[in-house]
């Protein structure tokens, strides 16, 4: 699995790792389902997607991220992306992801 979960108070920290491309589409669907399920329980107020260990990423996973962001906000929780590498941050800038969510260095 390229991801694992950790709780820090009301924060849900999602640590993702590896290269994220369309080849991992099943994992993407799993991640959406698992984050949604955890947020549905109502105790999570902030979802923090930790990208410190993500080396590569493509547009398929940008779609996965955006879907998670929307589901999280539908449940009135907040969503941030943390610690993207220089290359991943550049990708986020290309598609102006910072317009729709906070990205923390």
């Amino acid at each position: 699995m390229p991801f694992r979960f950790r709780r820090e108070g009301n924060d849900l920290v999602v640590v993702i790792s590896g290269a994220l491309t369309f080849h991992q589409h099943k994992e993407g669907e799993q991640l959406i389902y698992q984050v949604t399920t955890l947020v549905d329980k109502g105790e999570v107020t902030l979802v923090r997607m930790n990208f410190a260990n993500v080396q590569r990423m493509d547009s398929h996973w940008l779609g996965v991220l955006i879907r998670i962001l929307r589901r999280v906000r539908e449940k009135n929780a907040a969503f941030v992306i943390e610690k993207p590498s220089r290359d991943i941050n550049r990708l986020f800038e290309m598609v102006e992801l910072n317009r729709i969510t906070e990205i923390r260095a």
């Binding site: 779609g63 929307r70 598609v95």
Partner: protein, 165 residues
């Protein structure tokens, strides 16, 4: 004709039909071609294919992160939207221009040309729609100087300006 390029990188992934290999080779033959790979439909769905292509590509031409993203997006385009049974990847350089060309059988569906045209406007897709997507071409257009398709829709071509000598 193809003997002249025997020193370049050439690799076949999977087991494409010999006729497909010949078609992919001849589609982009050029004396400046230095990198050529031919992939069958199954190998497009294997992460290892992408990893090997990036690993074997000359390191001094383009940022590895950009190359990875370009090849990943073009393979995804061919495999998921283009219904490719075979995909040829060719690279050639002329002075400060690097051409990355992707040839596929069968040709890309017409809607891909339309999606590329829309992406050329510079607009990004609506992030509020149910299934956000369509970011592939906007990304490619930000990485390359030009992105074009051939009139028969068998080729997707990216021209990149090289900053390096």
């Amino acid at each position: 004709m193809l003997d002249k390029v025997s020193k370049m990188f050439f690799r076949v992934f999977g087991k494409p039909k010999p006729s497909h290999i010949r078609a992919a080779q001849e589609a982009r033959f050029h004396r400046d071609t230095f990198f050529q790979a031919i992939m069958d439909g199954e190998s497009l769905l294997d992460q290892a294919t992408l990893d090997v292509l990036v690993q074997e590509f000359p390191k001094d031409l383009i940022e590895e992160a950009d190359l990875y993203l370009i090849i990943a997006e073009c393979i995804a385009n061919a495999a998921l939207h283009g219904e490719a049974k075979v995909l040829g990847f060719h690279a050639r350089r002329r002075r400060k221009i690097l051409l990355l060309s992707f040839f596929q059988i069968p040709p890309m569906p017409r809607f891909i040309v339309t999606v590329l045209s829309l992406a050329r406007t510079g607009a990004l897709p609506d992030y509020d729609c149910d299934l956000p997507g369509g970011l592939g071409f906007p990304i490619l257009l930000r990485l390359a100087h030009r992105v074009t398709t051939s009139s028969d829709r068998t080729r997707l071509q990216l021209w990149l300006r090289l900053n390096r000598p």
